[in-house]
Amino acid sequence: MSRRFGATTTGKLIGIVIVLAIVAGIFALARLDVTGRKGSGLSDQFVYDVKDLAKIDPSLILYEETVLPIRTGFTNARGLVVGPQRSMYVAGDKAIRRFSENGQILTEIELTDTPGCLAVADDSKIYIGMKDHVEVYELSRGAGPRGGKRLSSWPTVDGAGDAVLTSIAIRQDDVFVADAGNRIVLRYDTTGRLINRIGQKDSQRNIPGFVIPSPYFDLAVGRDGLLRVANPGRHRIEAYTFDGDLEFWWGKFSSALEGFCGCCNPVNFAILDDDSFVTCEKGLVRVKVYNPQGVFVGVVAGPEQLVEGGTSRICTLPSQCQAGGFDVAVDSRGRIFVLDTIKNTIRIFTRKQT
């Protein structure tokens, strides 16, 4: 009797163990993730998170986007300027396109290669920075939508093989060209004759030199007659005389809003009519305003407005990350035009009414 009872108990125990093993197996299989959907399982310290940095206090955002973005039609928009008569000129792919205020293409100039930057003079001549040379065009009168006549082409003089022209600015008879490849600013006259070089490392003149880790190197001429040049590797904007003397600079590294974040910012900037600066940063894509002394004033738009609507996602694929060097331009009405180089659109921001 007791032997039979013991045999029954052993059988039950074995059955229970088998059932438990099957349940545990099913549970383990259900939890097994071979698709990666559950994530890496790494702790938070292994996660790169800049979402908090991307958030901006709404009270600091001084501008708003009141019109729909203008599609440039480019797959690789590179540079933006606002020319005379408030038309917008965009360099991209292998062309320059001129847009009206309502976004219509007025003119297209076809080029043989990809332009890197452009500037429009008061006489409406268009100076286009190609990889290693400058081409000058004028809009042909009455020539229709494909009007554009090439007037001249200047080769750069410094190491053409390394040259990467990233910005052009014009003041009367002077044309300033930023060469990111050679880390120098070249000053030409309007005929293409080199006058002098600006910003070359020179301890005698107390010039530290430009640090350009990525192909963003912008410049503009202020109303005070000084040339402003972004020195992104040093996180500042430097002021030079046309003869190349470094007068002063402003800007500092900081992940906070007041400073320039990342390895190398600002990537682009523009000067408003009140001499304030509008700066663009990559990485954390932020467009901000600084007063003429370089004191932070406010934000035009941050990652939540610029990159992914309503979210603070920065970028996912390397190509998206690298494309975040937005360009910026301003007009006489104080509007700020941002060239979104990810979506290849022009975003127009106006100051909020207080």
């Binding site: 993730d33 071979v34 698709t35 990666g36 994530g39 890496s40 399982g41 790494l42 310290q45 292994f46 996660v47 790169y48 998170d49 800049v50 940095l53 797959t75 690789n76 590179r78 990809t114 890197g116 990889k131 290693d132 093989g161 390394d162 040259a163 990467v164 990111a180 490849g181 880390r183 640090v211 350009i212 880790p213 990525s214 192909p215 590797g233 040093r234 996180h235 590294f253 992940s255 974040c261 990342g262 390895c263 190398c264 990559k282 990485g283 954390l284 920065i314 970028c315 996912t316 694929l317 390397p318 190509s319 998206q320 990350c321 690298q322 494309a323 180089t341 990810i342």
Partner: protein, 219 residues
């Protein structure tokens, strides 16, 4: 006359010789063909690798490998690097200070080392014995820098499983088979002209100090 004699004696005739030769040739050809097909089907001439332009540095490479220590580790393409003083592949997004203090570094295990080159340039290298392939530094470098840090399968460690568990868990499809003769997908040394390319990680211009130019990829 000799042939007829041999045939009569049960020895090899010309006809038999030709027939046997034909059979032999056919069998040899079949063998060669079978060997060729088997070699092709075995695919032993390909290896797993990560496409750095598709990788999103999700972190799965660190934990899904069948090895205790993942076969995936970070590598650094010096010709693409900007040699920045404030490198966001080295420093966290909000460093307390720009020093090598552990609290300022992005890598939780201190696998990235930096060396001063000349003002303001620094050289960054990966300590592969420490790197676990989490990709945190890759994310920082891609977001803010030139993307010179990226993940690669190290073939001195990889078992080359047919069904790679990391490849199955890769959310971006960055894992691919590459020829064994070219086992790494390294970002190439680029001329500055590449900077004008279409929105692409290839479009970066690197400015290492003059002394460092020409340095190759480090894998």
């Amino acid at each position: 006359m000799m042939g007829e004699n041999k045939s009569a004696e049960g020895e090899i005739t010309r006809r038999h010789f030709l027939r046997d030769s034909l059979w032999g040739t056919c069998l040899a050809g079949l063998g060669v063909l079978t060997g060729f097909v088997i070699t092709k089907l075995r695919k032993t001439n390909t290896l797993w690798q990560i496409d750095p332009y598709t990788c999103v540095a999700c972190g799965n490479c660190a934990t899904y490998c069948v090895l205790d220590e993942s076969a995936v580790k970070c590598v650094h393409a010096f010709p693409v690097c900007g040699y920045c003083r404030i490198c966001f592949g080295f420093f966290g997004p909000e460093p307390l200070d720009i020093t090598e203090g552990a609290e300022n570094q992005v890598c939780p295990i201190g696998a990235i080392k930096r060396r001063f080159v000349e003002d303001p340039y620094y050289e960054y290298t990966i300590d592969e014995s420490l790197c676990n392939g989490c990709g945190k530094c890759v994310k920082g470098c891609n977001t803010f820098g030139n993307g010179s840090l990226f993940l690669q399968v190290h073939h001195d460690r990889c078992l080359n499983c047919n069904e790679c568990s990391i490849a199955a868990a890769c959310p971006s499809g960055a894992w691919k088979r590459v020829p064994a003769e070219q086992p790494y997908l390294l970002k190439p040394a680029l001329s500055p002209s590449a900077a004008l390319r279409v929105n692409s990680a290839e479009g970066m211009v690197a400015h290492p100090p003059q002394a460092e130019r020409g340095a190759g990829n480090h894998a």
